[in-house]
């Protein structure tokens, strides 16, 4: 039956119907596209509004924030807020501390994690898989469990209020090891085999073949580690006392204690602590997004 009907449709009717269907589909596509753009814009605006409000507040006169009408464009624009906020606490010092700690922690984690990950991915040695499983298991331990003994250790070593306390515990990461190991497993082995035949040492293979091939994964770990260190709050809060040793988040918190209701200054200070992470994110965005997907490919 169906076959007979199909044959019965004349060539012309068929092509007309086809064109009509295509037109309809095109119209529907445009509607969907428009609706999608509208939805995307609505979400985008609601994401940006709080951040724009922060910017707006940071440029207002101190009294202007306590008004019941919403004012988005500050009048007058008070750039002085940034100067005042910057000078109210040693923010320059906080910046240096955060950059130094972040750089050290990042370099340390990339080096130690990549070395361990290479061994877990490529080298044969007794106990390897058991040890790797132990690493995996530690990722479930809450930070609160290890932090108290870590604090006691740091205190015993007289490292409270030193860079040692801020940096050393951050140098080793089970997550970084895990992530890089997963990436190394996906690399083809041919190059290594060839290098081995040419008499390349294991360290040479790690340094000259694995590392250059893994730049995307290393960039991901770098971005993630740096941003994690930049935003880290509890540990620096516990192990620093003096103003000279505070990192940016702790300094910002101290600043809040000093100017609890001066929202213009607080927002100015908040904005300039956010700037570097935003820059790092924009620069390493691709790696960051890829890294998230990489971290999720478990087991």
């Amino acid at each position: 039956m169906a076959v007979v009907e199909e044959v019965a449709i004349s060539q012309q009717e068929f092509s007309e119907g086809y064109i009509l269907a295509r037109k309809r589909k095109a119209a529907r596509d445009i509607t969907i596209k428009t609706l999608t753009y509208i939805a995307l814009s609505v979400i985008g605006v609601s994401m940006l509004i709080p951040l724009l409000w922060m910017l707006s507040t940071s440029l207002k006169e101190p009294g202007a924030v306590f008004s019941s009408s919403m004012q988005w464009i500050p009048n007058p624009v008070v750039w002085q807020n940034y100067v005042e906020a910057w000078n109210a606490q040693p923010f320059g010092r906080f910046y240096l501390n955060s950059i130094f700690v972040g750089a050290m922690v990042t370099i340390g984690q990339v080096v130690t994690s990549s070395m361990a990950a290479y061994a877990f991915a490529r080298l044969e040695f007794p106990g390897r898989d058991k040890l790797f499983f132990a690493y995996l298991a530690t990722m479930m331990i809450p930070g609160a469990v290890t932090m108290i003994p870590q604090f006691i250790l740091v205190r015993k070593l007289n490292w409270v209020d030193t860079y040692w306390a801020l940096i050393l515990p951050g140098l080793f990461s089970a997550f970084g090891t895990f992530m890089l190991r997963q990436f190394f497993m996906t690399l083809p082995r041919d190059l290594e085999e060839a290098a081995k035949i040419d008499g390349c040492s294991l360290f040479g293979i790690y340094w000259k073949i694995i590392m250059p091939l893994s730049m995307p994964a290393l960039a991901t770990l770098t971005t993630m580690t740096f941003m994690g260190s930049w935003n880290n709050f509890m540990w620096p809060l516990i192990v620093t006392n003096s103003l000279e040793m505070k990192t940016l988040p702790i300094g910002l918190q101290a600043f809040q204690g000093q100017f609890s209701v001066e929202w213009t200054l607080l927002m100015a200070a908040s904005l300039f602590t956010l700037l570097p992470v935003i820059v790092v994110f924009l620069a390493g965005q691709r790696y960051f997004v890829e890294g998230i997907q990489m971290g999720a490919i478990k087991g």
Binding site: K33, L48, I49, Y135, A144, V145, L202, P249, V277
Partner: protein, 313 residues
């Protein structure tokens, strides 16, 4: 044995151990030993300044036990249970944020010009996590001059609604929803959205076409094709969310509310911090931390065991 020794002594084994050594030392010093020490600490009474006193299970009894007071059974540490409740309440945000992230990912899952710009904007809030963001939201949630109540006030007067505006962080009933709103804003465009987006892009187009031929509408396609296909991602996000949910809320409490009003925003993590570093109850704090660890472990185990069955394919 001889075989084992010769294996250990082989070049590759020695190299393997050497490569792991730096990381492994850090693992021992900053993870393995601390876990052991923490367990030991949970059986002592210690204020750091005087020598620790072994108290057996007293910390756990004080934490988890109950006693009779005038005929009523009361918890030895009622605050602890209250803070458990707070923590669980905050965790209600996990499914809400997951649904939000999925919706955003589905909108994003189109071949459109400029989608990368949107992705960047959506991702921005989750990047800015930290003290600065807590301060920003403390300001936005300000009952009198905050942005949120100004917008709400405008909406209320537009529709002639005669209701009091929420007091947010200054009101015990509204403080948790306020903080959850901040979490929602930070989460729907972040990591989980990216994960969902990747999962959605992995759903084979043929499945949708087959469903269409069978006469399935959009809603039906979502539940019959999309949801089963992305269930591994949902499962992964949920497990990670629960693990971190039990440990969350410290920074918000410390920066925005000091755990108040009336303890409404104190989570377990903040309670541990106060016990350890404010009141120097190192033993008690360790006991709470271990309790938390065991809860997380068990919940994750249950999730794996039963949640795994809900994952299709």
């Amino acid at each position: 044995m001889k075989d084992f020794l010769s294996k250990i002594g082989s070049n590759e084994s020695v190299a393997g151990y050497l490569f792991i050594l730096p990381n492994f030392l850090g693992f021992l010093v900053f993870t393995f030993f601390p876990v052991i020490v923490s367990l030991c600490l949970s059986f002592v009474d210690w204020d750091i300044l005087t020598p620790p006193k072994f108290v057996g299970l007293a910390n756990f009894v004080a934490l988890l036990g109950f006693h009779r007071e005038g005929g009523v059974i009361v918890a030895n540490d009622p605050l602890f249970w209250k803070y458990i409740g707070n923590t669980l309440f905050f965790m209600l945000n996990i499914p809400i944020c997951m649904a939000g992230a999925l919706v955003v990912a589905m909108v994003m899952n189109q071949k459109l010009k400029g989608i990368v710009i949107f992705r960047t904007i959506f991702f921005l809030p989750s990047i800015c996590a930290g003290v600065a963001l807590c301060l920003l939201w403390k300001w936005i949630l300000n009952p009198d001059y905050g942005l949120l109540n100004q917008i709400l006030g405008a909406v209320f007067s537009l529709f002639h609604i005669n209701a009091a505006l929420p007091g947010w962080l200054s009101n015990p009933a509204w403080a948790k929803p306020g903080i959850m709103l901040m979490g929602f804003w930070g989460a729907i465009g972040g990591m989980n959205m990216i994960l969902y987006l990747a999962a959605l892009q992995g759903v084979p187009k043929e499945l949708y076409e087959a469903a269409e031929i069978d006469g399935a509408n959009g809603w039906r396609k979502f539940w019959a094709v999309t949801m089963p296909f992305i269930s591994p991602t949902t499962f992964f996000i949920a497990i990670m969310g629960v693990i971190s949910g039990f440990q969350s809320g410290f920074m918000q409490a410390y920066v925005m509310t000091e755990g108040g009003p009336a303890g409404a925003t104190t989570t377990i993590d903040y309670y541990i911090y106060n016990n350890a570093y404010q009141w120097l109850h190192m033993g008690y704090a360790s006991a709470i931390a271990w309790f938390l660890f065991i809860v997380i472990f068990l919940v994750t185990l249950v999730n794996w065991r039963f949640g795994g069955k809900l994952v299709h394919y």
